[in-house]
Symmetry: C2
Subunit: 287 residues, 2 copies
């Protein structure tokens, strides 16, 4: 089974219909995968999902209002987290591991806060804690120049903004795009401006904090693997430093020559470490 | 062969006598190990040296004026680097890998600057770039309270200042001390105040920089693995962030619940990753 061919499924919960895909099997706990800004189920790189699916049930979740999931995209991480929990409840999953990428990593953290028992281990990639900085400011020149360039259409933008501006990273980006395009049928509709607008509002709200900065992280005891690229322009790497320094039980891995899409650029290394981390029972978390 | 039992050897070069040990064999390049502040050959944890020696020739080097190496401890990293290069030349090693811990990591970086051809891959643990901050300020309260406590004698100080103040990390520290004490014979004399004074002067000099901060790192192309503990009080982890961000080809691994001695606390994980990194030919560096 591969995310290139897995059928999109639908789950009805409280009048909403969530789209999802489920691939793989094995002895591991289910792994819930939470997607990035404007990403749909089709944005999950099979080079990441498929190796992980060889040891466990990998569940790709489409949050409300994205792709073929109904409802509105909420303007807060907290409300998006409510949808993720409702989806797991509807599916009958009581405990799972979570891979949250970017926006998805924020939802994973909020899940760990709101219902600690539903998560065993977390993998947070290219994301930021509440109170983090410079989260998805698409208006800044280093990102705007790619997003507003009329030469960059569709996936070509992703290659520019998810990968570092080096030949090696851009080549990895091209390979990533080619892998996404392998899926021909049963594709999700791309996200439009309404999705982007609400998700950007959620990022702005996530940058705010009250009380002592990052104090909320100290209560998240889940073993956590934090991953990022040193040259992430969308969510700078210092946000992962803060995660690692304040989560009591997190190991940090940062890749060179990589931007926001480090997990796709280093898919072999990332999935090897992710699988080892999920299989490990060591506390404190180690790779 | 183990550092618990390996005989100390001596090499005469230009009127000086360097103490060293050499353990292991295998297909890998020799691995030169450069030691921390006031550490001697006896401070190399067999849980780190011995697994690495199963695949390669591991060379533990005692810099000038330390242990039974003759000469004076130089007050600069540059001069210490000269001794390391003279030692390798005397031994006939033209290219090697280097594991530099703390002070040793600074010498490794200077070697890469002064003679790039002598290094293939570097592992830098608990160290700092030139221009780094808060490098071994033993006078600060968080360190001085342990160093000046009369209850802490000999290796007991190391357990306090190399490990985090948690039960798990302190237990790992006690196990580390027990491993160091397994070596009964042919031990090096402990470093005295003259060694400490000159090495501290070298740290102060290493904190200074001219021109653009960290610009010198951009010329070091060697694949590098940077490792640290999040709770390192002796050389704070932000120094490893700067290494990773400015070295063009470095991957970063930071352990939770660990201080300066992260490589000893996580010896199994560290040696597994170090061996994989040294065996890898991938560029950019990845684990």
């Amino acid at each position: 089974m591969s995310n290139t061919t897995a059928a999109t499924q639908f789950l009805e919960v409280s009048g909403l219909r969530y789209a999802y895909r489920r691939i793989g099997k094995g002895p591991g706990l289910p792994l819930l995968c939470l997607q990035h800004f404007t990403g749909t189920l089709d944005n999950w790189d099979p080079a990441v999902t498929d190796p992980l699916a060889s040891g466990r049930d990998v569940i790709l979740f489409e949050n409300a209002g994205v792709g073929r999931s109904t409802g509105d995209v909420p303007p807060t991480i907290t409300a998006m987290t409510g949808h993720a929990l409702a989806f797991l409840d509807g599916l009958g999953v009581e405990t799972c591991d979570v891979l949250g990428f970017s926006l998805g990593g924020m939802i994973a953290q909020q899940m760990a806060q709101d219902r600690p028992s539903i998560i065993r281990r977390m993998i947070l990639v290219g994301t930021a804690p509440r109170g983090g900085e410079d989260i998805m400011h698409l208006e800044k020149p280093s990102l705007a120049k790619h997003i507003q360039d009329p030469q960059n259409r569709g996936y070509a933008v992703l290659q520019k903004i998810f990968f570092a501006p080096t030949p090696t990273s851009q080549a990895a980006g091209a390979a990533f795009i080619a892998r996404l395009m392998q899926r021909k049928d049963d594709r999700e509709p791309p996200a439009g401006p309404n999705v982007a607008g609400a998700q950007l509002a959620a990022f702005r709200e996530w940058e705010r904090f009250t009380g002592q900065r990052f104090a909320d992280l100290k209560g998240i005891r889940h073993p956590t693997l934090v991953v990022q690229g040193f040259h992430d322009e969308m969510i700078p790497v210092r946000n992962s430093y803060w995660l690692g320094e304040n989560l009591p039980n997190a190991v940090l891995l940062v890749y060179p020559d990589a931007g926001h899409g480090s997990l796709f650029q280093y898919a072999e290394s990332f999935t090897r470490h992710a699988a080892a981390f999920l299989s490990s029972t060591s506390v404190p978390a180690a790779l």
